[in-house]
């Protein structure tokens, strides 16, 4: 039982979708948005910042221990209340039960989300790094978080971004896996074995399986951003057209990417 049920009323801790850039995060967020119980929206960077700030405050309060004033439980409750206040209007407008928060790349404190939302479910998307790099270059990758200029074609930096993202995931995942709150989902499975992936998703979330398709409205919604210029997301049935596109890269580029990503790539089963 969620220990915050009493204070939170009908609130249900969010589903959190995260992955490296070009790994299918927006695709999955849009798919889940069509589910009758789930609703997603544009990426909100300040929510991640809030969770991170809560973590920092929680650590300070923990060190103070006998400090006067706010307790750790009160601080946690205050942050949960603020986030609930910010997300409830959307749930009320759509009549849905659970919010899907999605976040692409960058540093993310998944474990802090896990502590603040003890009933939250996490889905980490994996994609072959060679396809990720090819996609980043193909879509004229612009990554303000990584400090890259618009349109920069930097194979090494793109591969490095994937490595950094996966390192974050692999470091933080064990704590969530132990409590059965984490699902790893391969982009390749999402695209080539969609029905099977939807069944797994439904079982993991305790909901009926989502439909393996993207509604036009959801495609536009989840890629809206005040910070990033995300490439548009195609609507319609999920297709397998972007799986294995790395083979179109030059041989030396493939070798470079494989070299940079070797450790995490083999660990994650991309040979």
């Amino acid at each position: 039982m969620n220990p915050h049920d009493e204070e939170d009323g009908e609130w249900r801790d969010p589903v959190i979708v995260w992955g490296a850039p070009r790994s299918g995060v927006h695709l999955l967020a849009a798919v889940l948005d069509a589910h009758p119980a789930l609703v997603s929206g544009p990426e909100l960077s300040f929510v991640s910042m809030m969770v991170s700030r809560w973590r920092g405050i929680d650590r300070i309060l923990d060190q103070r221990r006998a400090g006067k004033g706010v307790s750790r439980a009160q601080a946690r409750s205050a942050f949960r209340a603020a986030l609930r206040e910010l997300l409830t209007p959307l749930l009320a407008r759509t009549g849905k039960r659970c919010f899907v928060y999605h976040w692409v790349g960058g540093h993310v404190e998944l474990d802090a989300f896990g502590e603040l939302f003890p009933e939250a479910r996490f889905i980490i998307l994996l994609r072959d790094p060679r396809d990720v790099v090819r996609s980043l270059l193909h879509c004229k990758w612009r990554c303000s978080r990584a400090g890259r200029a618009s349109g920069e074609h930097d194979l090494g930096a793109a591969a490095g971004l994937w490595v950094d993202s996966m390192k974050t995931a692999l470091d933080l995942a064990p704590g969530l896996e132990r409590r059965n709150r984490l699902m790893w989902l391969r982009y390749e499975d999402l695209c080539t074995r969609s029905n099977e992936a939807m069944l797994r998703l439904g079982a993991f979330l305790g909901e009926v399986p989502p439909e393996p398709a993207v509604a036009p409205g959801a495609a536009a919604l989840v890629t809206m951003s005040m910070e990033q210029a995300y490439p548009p997301l195609r609507s319609g049935a999920i297709g397998a057209g972007q799986v294995g596109v790395w083979r179109r890269l030059r041989a030396e580029d493939i070798a470079t990417v494989e070299g940079i990503t070797a450790s995490q790539r083999t660990r994650l089963g991309y040979y």
């Binding site: 809030m50 700030r53 307790s71 209340a81 603020a82 206040e85 209007p89």
Partner: protein, 269 residues
């Protein structure tokens, strides 16, 4: 004029300008508790959320006011919990860097007094030089490192502190120019607080909607113990700053000191 007497009180200023002194004086009031909270970081978070305003309205059915309420409630929950722990009804947050988020605090808490403690830049620099320790140590300010001999480093520090003071004073015209902020903006001179605490506090408490309790003098605070304002802290620069240090401060701060009335108009640079 501030009418509400329950809204939190925010105190800010440059470091070593008397913010802690005023915080302790407020804390000595039987109805006010002075607390420390993660105020600046939460106000900065609100700024970040507020920048997403159009997106939040379109996609999340959130109006700017809803976002503002969520963040002011979040900040209040920290302040009020600390106040309840001390059994007082009104909370003051006194941290020098609050000054940096005065505009945000003014927007989040439209009824709250924003007290800006202002002190002569020369005394601020003298006090900060004393506090920051031996000048032989490396010192970095705003990305630039003060190097060279010990006197040169001290001068470099003095210049950096004076520049920081000038930058911070830019908040005065900004607050005064905005009617929504100026009505709650309370500039307060450190020199007045030290030379005539009773009269200054009586006037301050009236402006923030509190009764002045003369029993609070001498100030005894749970935060800082006994507080005795030191009269010699006003004009200390005459003893503490040599010609080079004073020159560095005046290079940076002369114009602002003049504008704030800390220099007579005929005084040479």
């Amino acid at each position: 004029m501030v009418a509400r007497s329950t809204s939190p009180i925010f105190v800010g200023g440059v470091p070593c300008s008397g913010v802690a002194l005023l915080g302790a004086m407020l804390d000595a009031h039987p109805g006010i508790v002075c607390v420390s909270s993660p105020l600046q970081s939460l106000a900065a978070l609100w700024t970040c959320a507020d920048r997403s305003g159009p997106l939040l309205e379109t996609a999340y059915a959130l109006r700017c006011q809803d976002v503002r309420n969520a963040f002011s409630n979040l900040i209040l929950s920290f302040l009020e919990a600390a106040g309840r722990a001390r059994g007082k009804s009104r909370v003051a947050e006194a941290t020098a860097s609050n000054l940096l988020v005065f505009p945000q605090l003014g927007a989040l808490f439209p009824g709250s007094p924003l007290i800006h403690v202002i002190r002569d830049a020369r005394d601020v620099v003298a006090s900060r030089l004393e506090r920051c320790g031996p000048a032989g140590e490396e010192f970095e300010h705003n990305g630039s490192v003060c190097e060279g001999s010990t006197p040169a480093r001290s001068t470099c520090r003095a210049r950096a502190f004076a520049r920081q003071w000038v930058d911070a004073m830019a908040v005065c015209p900004m607050m005064l120019a905005d009617p929504a902020l100026s009505c709650n903006y309370v500039p307060l001179r450190y020199e007045d607080l030290v030379r005539a605490p009773q009269a200054t506090l009586a006037s301050l408490f009236a402006s923030i909607g509190e009764r002045f309790d003369s029993a609070a003098i001498p100030f005894r605070s749970a935060v800082a113990g006994d507080i005795t304002p030191r009269h010699d802290s006003v004009g200390r620069w005459r003893q503490d700053l040599d010609q080079d240090l004073l020159g560095a401060v005046m290079d940076e701060a002369h114009r602002t000191l003049l504008e704030l009335g800390y220099l007579p108009h005929e005084e040479p640079v």
